[in-house]
Amino acid sequence: MDVDQLIADARQVARLRAMEETIKELWVAKEVVGSTHLDIGQEAVPVGIASAIRREDALFATYRGHGYALARGVPPEAMMGELLGRASGINGGRGGSAYLTAPEYGFYGENSIVGAGAPIATGAALAGRYDGSGRVAVTVFGDGAMNQGSVHEAMNFASAMKLPVIFVCVNNGWSELTPINEMVADPELFHRAAAYAMHGERIDGNDPAVVRDRVGDLVERARAGEGPALVEAMTARLVGHYIGDAEVYRRPGELDRANQDEPLVRLGRKLAEHGVEVDVIYQEALAEMRAAADAALANPKANAATAKEHVYA
């Protein structure tokens, strides 16, 4: 692969990683409060997807969705502001870490209800039938979400109506503190696509290029009217389910291999072959994110007087 593309991917992965690490620092410093779910180790999925879809496409994620927003183009300061409860946050602090949204960037939001984004994304695709946009909807959820009724309903609905929806299941092996393999009889979750006569495949979720290629193909296939698909992206969450998770459920050494196989380390190995140091890229990203955090911190907190606005038209 082209070194420029490798660098571009590494830069995006590094930005997502650095954002999460910065958020973690802010959380430890008690500037960010409440449940905060980091996507560390899983960044190749948002980076790959965001580079595979068009401006008019609609992306839906979960509470582990900061990276999806950033990859879609939300400015770091607006992200930090949101997590820090600033008026300058992308939702003025209303969404927070686990429910932020940025429609103006084609990011139709995080969702803190497991599985709930799938039917909503299906509706975004449905709208495309009428508005001439050619929109494809991409909805991302975890392995555990595959067992939620709403995901089943969405897949059937999309497939029966041949709607352009790509269901991306990020299989990181864990649903909170419980291993997915014990919660399903067949741990190859992409097999479920067949139940809906839908294309399904399992891909390497730690390589942005793979994600871009495969999701890209399926997005264009969907746009061409050939219906939805299910992609199971295999990856590992290198940190707790949320910040502060003691991770008592991990087997010893569980992450040893995953730490060598994670997107940034992998990209680092490839870039090294071209004489590029990934750490330089990461440090640059970290500086960007820390600057964004500082800028956000300097902004005023969301104004309590506005909290009651916009419940109704």
Binding site: N91, G95, L100, T101, T122, Y130, A154, N156
Partner: protein, 333 residues
Amino acid sequence: MPDLLEATTETTSLSYAEAVNAALGRALDEIPETLLYGEDVGTPGGVFGVTRGLKRRFGDRVFDTPISESAILGSAVGAAMMGRRPIVEIMWIDFSLVALDQIVNQLANVRYINRGTVTAPVVIRTQQGMAPGACAQHSQSLEALFLHIPGVRVCMPRTAQDAYDVLVSAAYSDDPVLVIENRSLYHLGKQEVVVGGPVSPIGGSKVRREGDDMTVVTWGSITERVLDAADILGAEGIELNVIEALWLNPFDTQGVIDSVARTERLLVVHEANLTGGFGAEVLSRVVESGVRFEAPPKRLGVEDLRIPAAPSLAGNLAPSIESIVRAARTLMR
């Protein structure tokens, strides 16, 4: 809201079901973003025949769905966020409980989280209420559940005219609206209905009978019993001021308080279970206003029961004409 003030009106003879159909037809006709879908809503024209002919008229914008309430409601949220104006049907309000998340945790939050820049103007049509032989899973009156959820408007039309009017208002509203119809009313016979004409904003109640002795607030099909009771009481010289709360959110609190200020007596009647019913809210708002009472206000509803199927068991559980008359007489003492 478009400038429809000069739209022509027409008076025509319609059943409640036909009035709903006319409102849906108007919305589909006037608002190109409108979609209409749900189980059996398209080709077969609805399990109660309410949407008959609309698929033929509006083609792809009207369609049937799988039996997947989460997908129906969730897709409506998503389509609305993209600029469509879906009108979806949940066949019985009882079935909303398999997918309430999409209303409460999703639909109700869209405008708020987006600070108004993205909204979800979804209309959910459903119907509820007791009917002879209907089982406990098909008999509940659940408006109170939705009235506790900020972000979703709720109305409950009883007459054909109101069924038409509230649905047109809902279709034009930028808020999500739950329209609770009643299957017992769909095919009761024709009424004169004015169709076309200006679109009213959502909200408002109707004074169905003028009276100075007592304010009775009610909604839904049980209003008929209240009006019958009012006739009986009127013959005894007790004059009820009957307010039908067509819209429960927004609720016409001031209208009710003004009436009670005059009558100094309040009775609230609904078909829902008493405990936690919206009657408690109405009573509380009036009492909190500090208005003077001649007698303690009172609510009538179902006495916190599951609903049995047998007519002999279920027939007397909701407030009856007699129980309303009795309650009113007691309040007059």
